[in-house]
Symmetry: C2
Subunit: 337 residues, 2 copies
DNA sequence: CTGAAAGCGCTAACAC
DNA sequence: GTGTTAGCGCTTTCAG
């Protein structure tokens, strides 16, 4: 059996309450006994049992991070930001991949609730939060990343999506592109709606008519394959004169697939068609890729999410928090525009 | 206060032991009361407290994953494999990034021990495990990934590194390359030693003399920058006739930097110099990169690590486990050779 | 300043 | 079948 507070109390001939106090650096304890206790504890290799402590304190110094997929290059940076900030605040992180699956997401949230996490950071796999009712009932502190939840008591850390695509369009127009298309990720996603809004807003600003045939969307997955396939179809369908001369993609993965399709059609990027992504994931800056993209401050988003979550945890109840923390995206101009 | 086993016992007028039994589907309990309890529990939104349960069961259904950096593209896949397998086995994962720092690694291991994890999966940031003495004393079940720990009671999940570079050399020679160099990652790393060994072994097999000037190494970090800088120097130093015609890199990141340096020197890959990486991280297969590389089964490694860890946890004590589980790497021939 | 004792929420003997 | 009770390791009143 491991050495407990009790073992060391017996060893020293004091009560275990005293040992507890000494170890927690409680003021009301003789400096001398404190020293003796601490020495003994080290000597015996005592490790406090955080589970037992958590049971009485109702605080586990543990938070849950539920994301769709750590394998998607957007998330490692976010996770790192969360984890780094958690480390400095003294928390450990449960990592959960929902795999874009509501049931799994629900299951994880329940598991985390049972494990008594002090808080939750979630990037929901879907805008519809019906499956998270237990969470919402549980009054647990939570912050959302990349997805705006219009509810009191919750705050979302997001990037200014509208501004992001606006910047992208502005840049394209400045470069002389006129026929700008948008490849989105399905109407229902919050970020997609916002990015589309920014796209339209910027076009309007420049007196360019929105052309419906220039707005397309992939369905389920937002990776390079789906981008590739969609663009293939676009290129096959249209006669060349009706092709866009620039494309803004919902994310970098899609952009990459799009570029691949364009090249296979023996067109040049950016001379024939320019491409802009969104996110600025790891490979986008590689010399072989050099994708122009709207960068999200991913690490920062994670960090801020954790920090505000900790603030929420520490603030007993009714303090008001912003319901949105909106970060500014940055346009990284590289070689595909 | 949350609803506990006690609340629902009072509500139903039964003892809370009965509630516990019912909820745990214990055989010795009347089907009818069982049903009533379960209904009531659902009705009241009861969530078991895993912390309390853990205290008595001495089992938290929680395992710690300590890796250097989730942001390094090698690890998300591993983490995903671990997590996926954990989900099916009913465990949650604590994710910890040591950031290649021993102190932090030690700190995390201690924190996890205190949080009473049932087991640990670690990719140590260094071969020297001096800082993990507490772990080693604690008799906690652990499995290592990518790093061989020659100790009883521990098992390591690794790839056959020797075979990996052997395959790489064989392939290069088959393609007609003769002057094959190796860019390593510092003598002390286990995987580096093994890969170097495979390189030398294969050269010997083909009766090619090992040339010391063809073996170089980056220092601290194993990313594209360090590969780029090292290769820059190599290219600057040597007169063209002494240049290798092929390079095997310790990993894909290094390979990428190497390629970049080669291209900047106005040499072609693979015509002038071929390059092979190791790992097969996400971007290596992209159409713009198409790096020939020795693929590690990363997801599998994580999955297997978790599965054997769970086996260890379940097997009470002295069952024997392999000290190494060696997976076979696969050579992915793409466009850089 | 220190000890005794209660209790966090739950499980597991042990009675009845 | 069900209730009673002890106890997991710890913190925290409450006495002294």
């Amino acid at each position: 059996m491991a050495v407990t507070i009790k073992t060391i109390a017996e060893e020293l001939g004091v009560s275990y309450a005293t040992v507890s106090r000494a170890l927690n650096d409680h003021p009301d304890v003789n400096d001398d006994t404190k020293k003796r206790v601490i020495e003994k504890a080290n000597e015996m290799g005592y490790q406090p049992n955080a589970i037992a402590r958590g049971l009485v304190n109702k605080e586990t110094k543990t938070i849950g991070l539920v994301i769709p997929d750590i394998t998607n290059p957007f998330f490692p940076q976010v996770a790192r930001g969360v984890e780094e900030a958690a480390a400095t605040a003294g928390y450990n992180i449960f990592l959960c991949n929902s795999n874009w699956n509501k049931d799994r997401e629900e299951h994880y949230v329940n598991a985390l609730l049972q494990k008594q996490v002090d808080g939750l950071i979630i990037t929901p796999s879907s805008e519809d939060l019906g499956h998270l009712k237990k969470l919402l009932k549980s009054k647990i502190k939570a912050v959302f990343i990349s997805s705006f939840i219009p509810m009191e008591n919750y705050t979302s850390v997001i990037v200014d999506n509208v501004l992001g695509t606006e910047k992208a369009v502005d840049h394209l127009i400045e470069k002389g592109y006129k026929k700008i298309a948008f490849i989105g990720a399905g109407e229902e996603r919050f970020a997609n709606k916002e990015r589309l809004k920014g796209y339209k807003k910027a076009l309007a600003k420049h007196n360019i008519k929105v052309r419906d045939e220039f707005i397309t969307s992939v369905k389920r997955s937002y990776d390079q394959e789906s981008g590739y396939e969609l663009m293939k179809k676009v290129l096959a369908r249209a006669d060349k004169s009706k092709l866009p001369d620039a494309i803004i993609c919902y994310n970098d993965l899609l952009a990459l697939g799009t570029i691949q399709a364009i090249k296979e059609a023996e067109l040049r990027v950016p001379e024939d068609i320019a491409v802009i992504g969104f996110d600025d994931i790891f490979f986008s800056s590689l010399s072989e890729i050099k994708l122009t993209t709207v960068a999200q401050p991913k690490y920062e988003m994670g960090k801020i999410a954790l920090e505000t979550l900790v603030e929420k945890i520490k603030s007993n109840s009714d303090k008001e928090f912003k319901s949105q923390i909106i970060l500014t995206p940055e346009l990284k101009i590289r070689k595909t525009t």
